[in-house]
């Protein structure tokens, strides 16, 4: 069998075809299936990032059991504040109501209401050393959900 191409050229052509074939097959095998779904990246990455577990349940989950407290809060100056703002992440509690949320201390009140010159003037701020405080702390005088009312 006589080749129609000089052998050195044929070898080069075969080499080139081999390189291209290896590249295309490697690309076929190694490129993730979802690559290019939305752009020049792995589309599945979006779903993987969306798949992570969460700690905060969200206001809707709180409303399912505690809508009475939400309605109370809606009439008080603390309206619009999510339960988890003060009470902390509650996803575990929402899944299993027997798991109680940690008790809150005065630190939870002072986190927002401690006087600081950088805080805006519309926010009610106190200096604990100058503010009346009994033995029961903040909740001795203020109902946390209706801070203008006393217990």
């Amino acid at each position: 069998m006589r080749s129609f191409l000089p052998p050195q050229i044929l070898r080069l052509v075969l080499l080139a075809v081999g390189i291209v074939a290896t590249y295309s097959v490697g690309r076929l095998l190694l490129t993730p299936k979802s690559f290019g779904e939305y752009g020049h990246y792995r589309g599945a990455a979006l779903h993987e990032l969306a798949d992570r577990p969460r700690n905060f349940a969200g206001a809707k989950a709180c409303d399912e059991c505690h809508s009475d407290l939400r309605d109370k809060l809606a009439k008080a100056p603390h309206r619009g504040i999510s339960c988890e703002s003060c009470h902390g992440p509650a996803n575990a509690h929402a899944a299993n109501p027997d798991l109680a949320l940690p008790k809150l201390t005065d630190a939870a009140c002072l986190r927002c209401h401690l006087a600081n010159p950088a805080r805006p003037a519309w926010l009610k701020q106190i200096q604990p050393s100058k503010h009346y405080s009994g033995d029961d702390g903040c909740v001795g005088c203020h109902l946390p959900h209706q801070p203008n009312d006393s217990p």
Binding site: A45, E48, L49, A50, D51, R54, G58, R111, N116
Partner: protein, 268 residues
Amino acid sequence: MNVSRRRWLGVLAGASGWFSALPATRAAKSAVRHLLASGGAPRDYDPTQHRWLMGLDVDRCIGCGTCVDACKRENHVPEAATYFRTWIERYLIKKPKPGSGELRGEVLVDSPNGGRDGFPNSLVPREEILKAFFVPKLCNLCEHSPCVQACPVGATFDAPDGVVLVDPNYCIGCGFCIQACPYGCRFLSPVTHTAEKCTLCYHRITRGLKPACVEVCPTQARVFGDLLHPTADDPLQAFIRNNKLGVLKPHLGTDPRVSYAGLDKEVR
């Protein structure tokens, strides 16, 4: 060129065997991928149908640090005070020296532990302060993201829903994006050794929840919404309507989408 019959047959057999192995490899790969992807992912979430945005109101931020704490707990951000996906900065602008004719005095910026535990009263006495305020910071969701351009392996990308994300499987942890981000919003995780950043709580927003920081903000200094599907009482639409908006470092041309209301010109 003489090729023996035996060799031809060998080559043919090898090639056919290789081709028949292709579908098997494919199947094995997809099986492994199926195994690795855990259940419960919102498969019905279509990123092309949303355009998320966060707005921040400087005048409403009280520097309580609840958002920083919530972000750390929700996203398992490393505890050390050098890793934050969101943080609060306190700007303290001193009065100018009397008779100096200056606009303002010295500008002091601090963020102790990212503001997570609140801000201690600063050493500057109240009467020396011209004004002071808090600025919450997070990924600015740039239209032209320097981090995306800097990534040498294409691990960082602009998702169609407006969020800038990092694919942890692709990230090689080189840190170029951390250098590139003019807002300092990224860090190299000491756990995964990949770049991490604010994802707008991607695992929450894809399920119809608000990002953790927005959820817990007690003063609605942070608002969040979908520009493609504004609802009737959308806080983001009201925020855009009622405020004069600005962005951080507009001169860089990054075109940040995260909008601030009440920005001072000293804010960097």
